[in-house]
């Protein structure tokens, strides 16, 4: 943990809090069925914790500056989170649940899960991996793509090479 940078520590803390919020909300649902007046509290904690963490660490001696790499990782994490959230919302529209309370509960669970996906992706990128997929699988995909491009390039070059001598013959 001491080898973590400031960004990694913040992301890990956010991930842990979101997991705790998710577990707390599911327990709350299990213990108190029916209408939930305290449900927005979970949303509030999940939303404002990163801001609170930044405020509490305002006098830290760690390097809190962000560079291109941090912004790139943040964008990639949010892209995955957005993909998960939009897919979840689409599935809720698709399923069209009859109970509005159930729909709201599932919407909050999807919202928290999307934040977990975004945090997890960023932590995985900081750990040196390329994506959620195993690195060996990504390498094999890249190799396959490169092979396809090389095949196409070889075809183009072969076509050009076949045209070349004919043109020269024509000139002779």
């Amino acid at each position: 943990m001491s080898a973590f940078t400031y960004r990694q520590k913040a992301l890990a803390a956010e991930l842990i809090v979101n997991v705790a919020v998710l577990i707390g909300f599911l327990l709350y649902l299990a213990l108190c069925p029916g209408s939930h007046n305290f449900a927005p509290l979970f949303l509030f904690v999940s939303w404002y914790f990163p801001i609170l963490y930044g405020v509490l660490k305002i006098h830290t001696t760690e390097d809190t500056r962000t560079d291109e790499r941090d912004r790139d990782f943040e964008n990639r994490g949010r892209r995955d989170g957005y993909g998960f959230l939009s897919f979840g919302v689409f599935m809720l529209i698709w399923l069209r649940l009859d109970d509005p309370i159930s729909l709201l509960n599932q919407l909050l669970v999807i919202w928290i899960l999307s934040r977990l996906v975004a945090n997890g992706k960023q932590l995985r990128l900081y750990a040196g991996h390329e994506s959620w997929l195993p690195d060996s699988f990504r390498a094999s995909l890249r190799q396959r793509t490169r092979r396809r491009f090389e095949t196409r390039l070889a075809e183009v070059r072969a076509a050009q090479a076949n045209l070349g001598p004919q043109d020269e013959d024509g000139k002779q």
């Binding site: 209408s35 939930h36 007046n37 449900a39 927005p40 949303l43 939303w47 790139d72 943040e74 964008n75 990639r76 949010r78 892209r79 989170g81 957005y82 993909g83 959230l85 939009s86 919302v89 689409f90 809720l92 529209i93 698709w94 069209r96 649940l97 009859d98 109970d99 509005p100 309370i101 729909l103 709201l104 919407l107 909050l108 919202w111 999307s114 975004a118 396809r148 491009f149 196409r152």
Partner: protein, 135 residues
């Protein structure tokens, strides 16, 4: 039109699909009685069309290359869309939970549908702007 890149053409196509889906939903599906329209089929069709077209086309042709700038622009668009969708979902949750007993599922589904379309439109427009400006 000739100055547009492949990525921009795809984005314009997606934007037209989003607008068509929203208009179709508002004019035909929303006013129809529940259970009398193929909402699931329509939504699935548009979703599959939008999310699968780009990857399918790029894999099929095999000569479409994306670089670091495309990835960065994709991330910027997703960041804006994520912000819109997250704030919208949080607003819907707080707004409906404030009443303790939401009015109807249809109203919530309407809000979610408009929000999803809005976030997709924001992503596309932001990417189109980013393609024409310096990053």
């Amino acid at each position: 039109m000739k100055t547009l890149t492949y990525q921009e053409k795809v984005l314009y196509g997606e934007l037209i699909v989003v607008i068509a889906a929203a208009i179709f939903y508002v004019h035909f599906l929303r006013v129809a009685p529940p259970g009398t329209y193929p909402i699931k089929g329509i939504l699935l069709f548009f979703a599959l069309l939008m999310f699968c077209y780009r990857s399918f086309h790029s894999r099929r042709s095999g000569d479409i290359i994306t670089d670091e700038r495309d990835t960065m622009i994709d991330g910027i668009g997703a960041q804006w869309a994520n912000l819109v969708l997250a704030i919208g979902v949080a607003s819907i949750l707080v707004m409906f939970w404030e009443h303790a007993r939401p009015v109807s599922v249809q109203r919530m589904v309407d809000h979610l549908f408009y929000l999803l379309m809005l976030s997709i439109a924001v992503r596309i427009v932001r990417q189109l702007v980013a393609y024409r400006t310096a990053l």
